[in-house]
Symmetry: C2
Subunit: 666 residues, 2 copies
């Protein structure tokens, strides 16, 4: 059931996705709103199948604690998490028209256009003609495949037009270097690029200096309008704030993971590239809580042999993008992946992505370089999928350390810690100040309580300093919070070596977070699974795995003769009882055409009902990619479809066991 | 598997829901935000099981077209649907403190408090003492059941304190009448009530006149901030705007339904009663599109015998709340339910609610009276569930007529209609203006085109008027859009009787909408399924149907002896492979205590592993409500659990077939 790997035709795929209502711009009859998309029936089924597979692969398999938290999030929570201050992009304004651009995108588009103009300028007239011809042919092929008149390609970027102009070799190199690290520029860096390289809008106008724009949608809760809130930018915070309850639900046992699947929102300055950069999207996030002193994982050994495509930071720093194919276990042992738990999750993510239809040769794990990692993260790998838009970040796997739990705990004064009973008490010695109560009170009078509290709050270094001062000069000073200095002597306090016995260890767990952008994964895997029949470029096929296909079985009666109705009804009932979605196509089109229509929907199996079926209760079963068929009794066919969809058998096995059927009635 | 029906103890249930993290106030460590709740692991599983069951019962069973649309909705869409102007509640402000109250709630609370004070005033000292004693005993029982110290009951309303004061009989009646129809007062009506009955805040302060408050959360999209949008208040509009695409996906066939499951938002002025009135909630909505001239339904006959608890408008108008137990088919035939399709959906909703655990004796369908129905609706029934808060509207079943599609079509100039090929062409005659092209052009010169267009746009009445004018005076006038008048005579135009043959009928479908408030249903059915063991009030049980239970099977080893580990691992694997969620409880508590803990989670089955299990590979299977057990080989038990969860067998059948097991090792 592996599809051939043809040249990918984006326009033909987009045409199918629109025409068959996988996805459409939201509120299209109102002109649409940039960055918002609706999923139609097959798109929604794909989404639901994704969620179902994800939940089985991660939540059910590992007893993760799934949480369903609200989208509305109070200001304070996101202030604490850092989103209010740091979840921003830089924007610039056209000084003439007032149009707004995302600064890095504008720089990127202008430099790319100049590089392209340079290529054109260097081409001979002959080469240019050949290129124009090739472009035209490609457009025509796309149009043929989409079954529609050739239409101009959709503009996915604000198009910058630059006349063919040769660039100096040095300038070329500079541009290429800028583009390679465009994600790493801050406001000042972007301002400098705009100034130095005379970046202008597509209209040719200058732009303002970049200003920060927070990407969260804001609103207010309640009738007074003074309770400020945001739509969550990720589901993670809704899990972190529930950490104490989750740990309790898990009977205090570590490690464990929570998980959430839900909508998140980013008010993108310039949404683009279809489902890849949108304003409302589905996320699936796991927060795995682990002892910072022990990041081993019980599933490590059983997943150590999973081979991953790795692009480590070191390779990137050396200016290369060569992928290392490595066993996960080796990568952890060699210190390329920071720890067992992170390695385990990379392997699980790899297995999951392949399960839902991602082409493993178009999947890589790219490690963040230190300058692109969030300041609190200690290691981060992105699962990237290769698409016609380049490598797209689809799953982020970060070790967020203890950052979020610590911040929320500090802000709310609520403990977000694990208390671990120690098998052996932990014994340590410590210099400690001992107060001579009898003299201390009379000596400091009303300040006594504050002075004692100030002494107790000192760390061990300060305590040793007091010990030394007392030994040296017989006196030492201590400050109370009001700023007053108080003099101590050996009659008031002594400093002693005290043995401390701890029976419980208290720690803030680290969090390892695999975070899935569902729309991006679906969008990429639709590219990976789309192909055209070699014998007919116009017949597009979505080679979705059966578990992901919106409809599992197409039922095709030879004609709309009512003699077929009882059997069709029976087939639907039986498949439905097993939770398998079906679709009947009893239109007047030829059987071949009806198969083709459902190949576009990714329907893996088709059951054909003809007059022989009515006589002997057999139907044919056709598989989408091989287009081969078998003919068996209804009961056998229903069982096979069930097993094929649930991964209990494969079409190759079926074809080996049953006779391939070749004759079909007209 | 039916639970006994004991006196319901709300506090004990709420304690379990909080303690076992079914549900908790969102961002509780930050003090929470009124009207926002998070679902913890068992609550999320319950929610997911609800969605799964709903999707199978409605979407899969009837091939509904599921749509996943965005939460962010542009201003224009909700302006057109009427939400911008009419989706409001009335609020009043305390003139001293500035506190804001929902006007109808305030009136309700004050009048209820006065009625209660009247009752107290009429009681003898003896009766008062008895009441105080009974209240205290109830609180203690609740505390015992919850396993916690007695805590004051949560305030679910703004409490109004009124000293015991007798009311005049007439005043009492007036108050009761107001409360019975409190939902029907507009702003003026509420202002009058506040004035006439001296309604004050709990602090005793007067309030301002009621002002309208729109319940939608607003935000803006994009960097300029000038694209106004709302968080959707329902999923319906996201379906309506996609109607044309959905009809095309359905190959133009009617009737059909679309469906959506998703979050919706209402900025309630005063959220209250736990999950019953919240600001962010899950909705599941069906929009069934039907020919207004033919509201028959293919499923009507097979559901005609479903007996419904009906409370028709007529009964309510007669001042009664007596429920009629009627077969759905009879109710439609007698005109109580408006049409077959609506009747069919009421039956389907009834069957669904019972499937997920609603007690059918606590379910009624209440018909809207004409004054509470949306102005466009032609019939509306609410499925109401009886809870400790009274009857709660959980599913609205409205015939929305052609209202929404017509409005969106008018606003966008996009056709949202069905084109029905007529078997027999529809033939009609019509007076039509025929232009004499030869003379018409020269006569009107540059205006000719506009004049002809104006004539063609006339309706038949206007055409007949022109005919009459021509016959009478030989001339007639017609106006062009620019306001100019043009003179016609019999040489320029004639009016003729023309036969029209229509092969296609074009109509705007009516929409029948069952709309489910998921949180309200879950909240109600938790009340319906909660009970305490008669032998032990402190042991609460959630008698959830197996398909809804968060965890299907508890696995209980006799002790944490490692001899049990392989079998436990094997049981989990096998159950997981069938998609059945399990939980292992290998804590040191007694087996009885471990059962009890999982009764609270609604876990229907428990598998106990003991030393005999290790020897002969048998385990016991215990059912939650009967607490009876059987002991069989592992393979048999696994199959039984699967069948029990999927509704293929019942515990009664199992108990009849297998020997009840009574001895358990200590």
């Amino acid at each position: 059931m592996t599809a051939p790997a043809p040249a990918f035709n984006r326009e033909a795929l987009e045409n199918i996705l629109a025409r068959r209502f996988f996805v459409a711009p939201s509120f299209e009859i109102y002109g649409g709103t940039a960055g918002l998309y609706d999923f139609g029936p097959p798109g929604t089924a794909l989404l639901n199948n994704f969620i179902d597979t994800w939940r089985k692969h991660f939540v059910l398999e590992e007893d993760m604690l799934e949480v369903d938290s609200t989208i509305l999030t109070p200001y304070e929570v996101l202030k604490t998490s850092g989103h209010v201050d740091r979840f921003c992009d830089w924007m610039v304004k056209d000084t003439v028209t007032g149009d707004i651009y995302r600064a890095d995108h504008l720089v990127e588009n202008v430099l790319e256009a100049r590089l392209e103009a340079d290529v054109r300028a260097r081409m001979s007239a002959l080469e240019l003609e050949a290129k124009a011809k090739a472009d035209k042919a490609a457009a025509a092929a796309a149009a043929a495949a989409s079954g529609q008149a050739a239409a101009p390609a959709k503009k996915t970027k604000q198009k910058v037009e630059v006349a063919a102009t040769k660039l100096d070799a040095k300038v070329r190199t500079a541009y290429e270097e800028i583009l390679a690290q465009i994600d790493n520029y801050g406001g000042d860096g972007l301002a400098r690029l705009i100034r130095e390289h005379d970046i202008r809008t597509p209209e040719g106008n200058p732009v303002t200096a970049p200003v920060e724009f927070n990407l969260m949608f804001d609103t207010s809760v309640g009738p007074t309008g003074d309770v400020k809130a945001f739509l969550r930018p990720e589901t993670a915070q809704g899990q972190f704030v529930n950490f104490a309850k989750l740990l309790e639900y898990n009977n205090g046992r570590m490690p464990f993971a929570s998980a959430s699947i839900g909508r998140s929102f980013r008010n993108e300055i310039s949404p683009r590239n279809g489902l890849l950069r949108v304003r409302e999207f589905l996320m699936a996030e796991i927060e795995h809580y682990v002892d910072p002193e022990d990041k081993s994982h019980p599933g490590f050994a059983s997943h150590a042999d999973v081979v991953l495509n790795l692009l480590p930071a070191k390779t990137q720093l050396a200016g290369s993008t060569t992928i290392s194919h490595m066993k996960m276990g080796d990568a952890v042992k060699q210190g390329i992946i920071d720890n067992e738990t992170l390695g385990y999750f990379l392997a699980r993510v790899h297995l999951f992505l392949v399960k839902v239809g991602v082409n493993p040769t178009l999947l890589r794990f790219r490690q963040h370089m230190s300058n692109e990692m969030a300041h609190y993260a200690c290691d981060c790998w992105d699962a990237e999928l290769r698409t016609s838009y380049g490598w797209i970040e689809c799953v982020g796997c970060a070790d967020r350390s203890a950052y979020d739990l610590t911040r929320h705990s500090e802000r709310t004064n609520k403990k977000l810690v694990v208390r671990q009973a120690l098998a052996e008490p932990r014994i340590s010695e410590k210099w400690t100040i001992v107060v001579n109560k009898k003299k201390f009170g009379p000596a400091f009078k009303r300040a006594a309580k504050d002075v004692e509290a100030a002494l107790m709050a000192l760390d061990e270094l300060a305590v040793v300093a007091i010990k030394d001062a007392l030994a040296k000069s017989g006196a030492a000073m201590v400050a109370t919070p009001d700023g007053a200095q108080h003099k101590l002597d050996a009659t008031l306090v002594t400093v002693e070596r005290v043995t401390i016995k701890e029976h419980v260890r208290e720690y803030t767990p680290n969090v390892i977070e695999p975070s899935f952008g569902v729309g991006r994964i679906l969008s990429s895997l639709l590219e990976h699974t789309f192909y055209s029949r070699p014998e007919d470029a116009a017949r597009g096929v979505l080679s979705l795995p059966p578990c992901m296909a919106p409809i599992k079985a197409l039922i095709v009666p030879l004609s709309n003769n009512t003699a077929f109705s009882p059997l069709i009804h029976d087939l639907r009932q039986q498949l439905r009882r097993r939770g398998l979605a079906t679709r009947v196509d009893d239109s007047a089109s030829s059987i071949g055409k009806r198969y083709a229509r459902n190949d576009e929907l990714g329907t893996p199996f088709a059951l054909t009902v003809d007059f022989q079926s009515v006589k002997d209760n057999t139907v044919t079963l056709r598989e989408r990619d091989s287009t081969k068929q078998i003919r068996e009794p209804v009961a056998t066919i229903i069982n096979l479809v069930d097993q094929l969809v649930n991964g209990e058998t494969t079409w190759d096995q079926v074809i080996k066991k049953y006779k391939v059927f070749t004759e079909q009635e007209a």
